[in-house]
């Protein structure tokens, strides 16, 4: 479904992403792991058009989407959440998701119909599916960190995606919130048949939900394979454990 071929991006001489490759099949959950600064977020930014690559290609459903602006990428039904909470602070939980739904329904140029009367059911459904319905009228700035991360996912769902990219979905969450978020991701994959690409530092989560794993080190792809393959790969052990021959996890 998604195929990234030899993509590269350099910032002031620093090779953030260096000939990385990634393939995601329909219906899969793929994790990208790697040490801090390996280029995971940059890779996601390259796929979603937030930054343009220096070289390489991104194919989505066999269509070249390399370098398209983010709003065009989103219209191809690719949505994403962000590592650092990135929501509309002054708006309510409901409005945050509603804007996303309105955007998908192409109603953002409507100047005179009150927003309050539009996309109510769709928005409520999404909030219900992620468990934020009871907090829908709360201003986003007043939400807990965990709830805001979940709201991130809800906003991404507003675009009715086929392909969902989650950048460290559980970062900074308390243990209980984390397990709820994992359940949510599993549910999205199973019930909505979403293809999910995510990155995460917590190996327990990665091995718990991913079908396949891609390992990035210094901007490049070390390996992409099943959990088993990745777990015992020497290069991965080098990167994570400094060359010991103990299997990861």
């Amino acid at each position: 479904m998604l195929e990234v071929t030899s993509i590269s991006k350099t910032f002031d001489g620093f090779k953030a992403v260096n000939h990385a490759n990634l393939a995601v099949e329909k219906g899969e959950i793929v994790a990208v792991i790697g040490p801090n600064g390996a280029g995971k977020t940059t890779l996601f930014n390259l796929i979603t058009g937030i930054i343009k690559p220096d070289s390489g290609r991104v194919l989505f459903k066999n269509e070249d989407i390399t370098g398209l602006p983010p709003y065009e990428v989103c219209r191809k039904r690719i949505s994403r959440s962000f590592q650092i909470v990135n929501v509309f602070q002054r708006l309510t939980v409901f409005e945050n998701v509603q804007i996303s739904v309105l955007s998908r329904e192409k109603k953002t140029w409507n100047l005179f119909t009150p927003s309050a009367s539009l996309a109510i059911k769709e928005t409520d459904d999404i909030l219900k599916s992620v468990g934020l319905l009871k907090k829908k009228n709360r201003t986003t700035a007043l939400l807990s960190h965990g709830d805001r991360k979940v709201l991130e996912i809800a906003m991404a769902l507003g675009g009715n995606p086929e392909f969902l990219i989650l950048d460290e979905p559980t970062a900074g969450m308390a243990a209980e919130e984390t397990s709820r978020c994992i359940d949510l991701i599993k549910k999205l994959s199973q019930t909505m048949e979403l293809t999910i690409l995510f990155c995460e530092h917590d190996m327990e989560i990665v091995f718990g939900i991913a079908n396949r794993i891609m390992v990035m080190v210094r901007g490049g792809t070390v390996i992409q394979g099943s959990c088993e393959e990745v777990r015992c790969n020497e290069a991965v052990q080098d990167a994570y454990l400094g060359g010991s021959d103990v299997c990861l996890m």
Partner: protein
């Protein structure tokens, strides 16, 4: 909208309608000026408070609207009403052109480029004697019969201001308004949910330019003059302060800010020449003590009791 708000609004409008019946002529003039400045500040707030765009030189659109109407009235034989529509349209078109040039830059850089380009327009108006009247401006602009008395000018201003405010209020509550506020809070996120940020911002700039132009045309009706100072950047600063003082995240805040600033300017100017000094002090006080403005402060106080308690879902 709740019944209470509607009642308060109705009462407010009724008082405004009755004003000319018992107020002396000077105050009728003053209230007209407050109304049109309030409209001007609200139009700025559409992009500043709701759009998060640092439109630092909004007065240019006000001036272009006023000059557009005036030049149509004095230099062509076209019907007066056409001139009143042409002014705001020219101003909106101007908003589009300046917008296209500036929108590539973000935040402060947008504001800086806008101040420079706006000042250029001011310089042209200030120098072009044969067309704009140069630094003298144009005085004694002929008005159609029905707008020639201060009272009729007042009612015209009141009605047009109310209609304009209503339209802007509708726009802010529309999907476009929601998206605009989303862009203000987070442009990157907005793009990622499929919104073409620049195009939406551009439309907001055009709308703001249009309503600033309406305010400019109203000034021509009330004062029968235009002068280059209407496009000078110090006026833009005053408009920004109106928004900040009244509350830039509230709809009626800028109108309140305009009332305070215009009234103060009128009365302070009778005692001292240092109005700018007083304005500077007000600005400082607002920043330190009322960061969300008067109405913003009232709203926060009022809403505090209504925040739902934290209920954890099971």
């Amino acid at each position: 909208m709740s019944r209470k708000t509607l009642l308060a609004l109705g009462a407010g409008i009724a008082v405004l309608l009755l004003f000319p019946l018992f107020l002396p002529r000077f105050y009728v003039y003053l209230v007209s000026i407050i109304l049109l400045y309030g409209l001007l500040a609200t139009s700025l707030n559409l992009v500043l408070g709701y759009g998060g765009i640092f439109q630092f030189h909004h007065a240019v659109f006000y001036g272009v609207g006023a000059y557009g109407t005036t030049l149509m009235l004095t230099k062509t034989g076209l019907p007066a009403m056409l001139a009143f529509i042409a002014g705001p349209l020219v101003s909106a078109a101007f908003g589009l052109v300046l917008g296209i040039i500036c929108i590539r830059l973000s935040k402060l850089y947008f504001g800086m480029l806008q101040i420079s380009l706006g000042s250029l327009v001011w310089a042209i108006v200030y120098r072009w004697y044969s067309f704009t009247g140069g630094d003298d401006g144009i005085h004694g602009i002929p008005m159609p019969e029905m707008l020639s008395s201060p009272k009729s000018a007042y009612y015209f201003t009141l009605i047009i201001t109310l209609v304009s405010l209503f339209i802007m209020w509708k726009v802010i509550r529309s999907p476009f308004g929601s998206v605009l506020q989303g862009i203000r809070d987070n442009p990157v996120r907005s793009e990622m949910i499929g919104i073409n940020v620049r195009r939406h911002q551009l439309l907001a700039l055009v709308l703001a330019g249009f309503f600033a132009g309406v305010a400019g045309s109203l000034f021509v009706v009330v004062d029968n003059t235009v002068f280059p100072d209407m496009l000078f950047w110090t006026l833009s600063l005053e408009i920004v302060i109106m928004c900040l003082l009244g509350g830039w995240f509230t709809f009626l805040g800028p109108m309140l800010g305009a009332a305070v600033i215009v009234a103060l300017r009128t009365f302070v100017s009778t005692y001292t020449d240092y109005w700018a000094l007083v304005l500077g002090i007000i600005m400082m006080l607002v920043i330190f003590f009322l960061p969300s403005g008067i109405l913003g402060y009232v709203e926060e106080k009022f809403k505090r009791g209504f925040i739902e308690p934290e209920i954890e879902e099971q």
